[in-house]
């Protein structure tokens, strides 16, 4: 069976038909996606499924990555944090390392496809080469730009303005730009190892293997060890439940190739949790998809207390597993969590404590939130909807300046 057809029973036949119809209009076209890592993080996860699907649809699609030395990754991590609004010590040397590395990559990557799809700031400067080609350039920004540090945004803004269109995950991230800013939410893949249905035996096996006790309800946050995910705030919220919380807290994460800060934050989290037998910290390799799936399914409540967020795919992952989610009201999270309908939005550590307590006490409410959440994800945040939107985006860039396109 083709890869696309395997989504029919989960996403619905009709959307698959729509995707096939749109793809016919793009048959024979080519696309190159460029980002900075093939392992770890939401972008890599999406591309790992999106690229084969586009190829199956007759759109010749490649996936390339920009590579650099440590000074490049250090610089881009700082740019990433600064674009999210965090204070960073950025020097001329960082901009220099960035510009030189992207320039070096430009000669290594074939950018001649009909659509060049650049993800995030790391490869953004490749657009300087677009004059050599007569093709369409799209910048996909997964970052919450609403509090972007001017120093870094002023550097990227002229680059972004050279694209044909950009894609953002939430209207709050929009900027004053001379190009169309398309809103396309990212998505989860319901058939991936991280999201597919699991048997009880599979879940039990993972818990047993990772030695996670199941004697109490489990409150879990799954995310990189990253300050913007506020793991220390989650521990504080849990500790405020009191000396007998009636639950355990599990913080599970890993790091991505392009995140040098992860190890430092992990040490801070370990130090903060030390001595509390109800708190479990797990660092897993980025390929632990089955384990993450089982942990989410075996949890009672899932938390995503981010302080800044591009979109927060772990929220949709948990909702897809019908879990009640408590999440920070930042970035793209409010699109996924409609407060008190598909989950709970919080704005503080105290709010997180309050709702942990409420959901532990009210399992019926928790269950209803989870059920609603799953349907919301089915309608709006599955890979198939994402794929359809990308096809529409390609068609839009071929028909610029029109708000009504007949196909």
């Amino acid at each position: 069976m083709s890869l696309l057809k395997s989504y029919r029973s989960i996403a619905g036949s009709e959307i698959i038909d729509e995707i096939e119809t749109l793809a016919e209009r793009l048959a024979g076209k080519s696309v190159v996606h460029v980002n900075s890592t093939k392992v770890g993080g939401g972008v890599a996860e999406i591309l790992a499924r999106m690229v084969p699907l586009l190829n199956e649809l007759g759109i010749n699609t490649r996936w390339e990555i920009v590579k650099g030395a440590q000074d490049f990754y250090n610089a881009t991590k700082k740019f990433h944090n600064a674009l999210h609004g965090a204070a960073q010590d950025i020097t001329e040397a960082d901009f220099k390392a960035y510009a030189e590395t992207v320039e070096a990559n430009a000669s290594q990557i074939d950018l001649g496809s009909d659509f060049v799809f650049i993800h995030d700031p790391q490869p953004a400067a490749l657009v300087k080469k677009r004059e050599q080609f007569k093709n369409h350039w799209i910048w996909r920004c997964h970052i919450d730009l609403s509090h972007a540090a001017p120093l870094v945004w002023n550097y990227f803004k002229p680059l972004v303005s050279s694209y044909d269109a950009c894609v953002i995950s939430d209207p709050h991230f929009s900027q004053e730009l001379p190009i169309p800013q398309t809103l396309i939410a990212p998505s989860i893949d319901p058939l991936s190892e991280k999201n597919r249905d699991l048997t009880k035996a599979e879940i039990d096996k993972v818990f047993s293997h990772l030695k996670i006790p199941r004697d109490k309800p489990l409150i879990t946050q799954v995310s990189r060890f990253d300050r913007l995910k506020d793991p220390l705030g989650v521990i504080e919220a849990f500790e405020a439940l009191g000396p007998r919380p009636g639950a355990r807290l599990l913080l599970v994460g890993g790091s991505a190739d392009d995140d040098p800060e992860g190890a430092i934050v992990y040490q801070e989290v370990m130090a903060k949790a030390k001595g509390n037998e109800n708190i479990i910290i797990l660092s897993l390799p980025p390929t632990s998809n089955l384990e993450i799936n089982a942990i989410q399914r075996g949890s009672t409540i899932v938390v995503q207390k981010s302080l800044r967020e591009g979109f927060g795919l772990t929220v949709s992952e948990a909702l897809w597993k019908s879990k009640p989610v408590i999440a920070g009201a930042v970035g793209g999270i409010p699109q996924q969590v409609i407060h008190k309908h598909t989950g709970i939005l919080v704005h503080s550590i105290e709010g997180t404590t309050y709702w942990m307590r409420q959901l532990l006490r009210n399992p019926d409410m928790a269950q209803k939130l989870g059920e609603n959440g799953k349907e919301h994800v089915r309608n709006n945040f599955l890979l198939t909807r994402h794929l359809r939107d990308y096809l529409l985006l390609f068609l839009m860039t071929e028909n610029p300046y029109s708000d009504f396109i007949r196909l």
Partner: protein, 226 residues
């Protein structure tokens, strides 16, 4: 399945399209009701569309939520429940023009602001970011010359097709008649079926459920003709 022979054939077939859209951020945001009023007076129709019709397509799960984005924002962000109630009365799919939606929104906001002079603003980060839509009309390749073919094609149609022909198409008709109702009545002489479809309430149920209802209605009509 046995073909029914005495079905009236249309002079013009029903051609099924799907309405898909992409949403764009305009880069503009409003922070108060007064601000919203000013923008609504002059913004393009595509902005009205994005916050009404497009909003409904992505919030089908919500059930009891307001039928337009402006009302939801007035409640959740502005904290003005009275204004939210007034705006919530506007159900976009019952309108036959975007301009009429705009006029009603402007009228409600103007009257509300005459009696409420405090002009409260939202906290930073809670602004309503104005969106617009690029609409795509996509031919599905499905076509019907009679009621039986209509039902078969409908069965294969996506919510985006049902949405366009049963509801959004009212925007193209001076009388606010949908594509389905118009064709059923004028081309194949099914005025009762056309009327029943026109009475379906898109704000009370999902498009998938509405598709099931239309299929059931056409099935009943076909049974009666056997």
């Amino acid at each position: 399945m046995k073909k029914i022979n005495n079905l009236k054939k249309a002079k013009n077939p029903f051609v099924f399209y799907a309405r898909l859209s992409l949403t764009l951020a305009t880069g503009k945001a409003v922070s108060s009701a007064r601000n919203l009023l000013e923008i609504l007076r002059t913004c393009p129709d595509s902005v009205i569309y994005a916050h009404s019709h497009r909003f409904l397509q992505t919030h089908q799960f919500a059930g009891t939520s307001p039928a337009n984005d402006f009302s939801l924002w007035a409640s959740h962000a502005l904290g003005d429940e009275e204004l939210a109630e007034k705006l919530g009365v506007i159900e976009p799919l019952s309108y036959s023009s975007l301009d009429q939606i705009r006029k009603d929104l402007v009228s409600i906001l103007s009257r509300h602001l005459e009696s409420h002079t405090d002009n409260r603003s939202v906290s930073p980060g809670q602004e309503l970011h104005l969106l617009s839509s690029v609409r795509f009309s996509v031919s599905t390749g499905l076509k019907a010359w009679d009621l039986e073919e209509f039902q078969k094609s409908l069965q294969k149609s996506s919510p985006a097709t049902i949405y366009l022909h049963a509801f959004e198409s009212r925007l193209r008709s001076a009388q606010g008649i949908s594509d389905f109702s118009k064709w059923l009545e004028e081309e194949i002489g099914e005025p009762d079926l056309a009327k029943k479809i026109a009475e379906l309430d898109p704000h009370a149920q999902t498009l998938s459920k509405i598709k099931e209802e239309i299929l059931e209605m056409t099935q009943q009509r076909l049974e009666a003709k056997k």
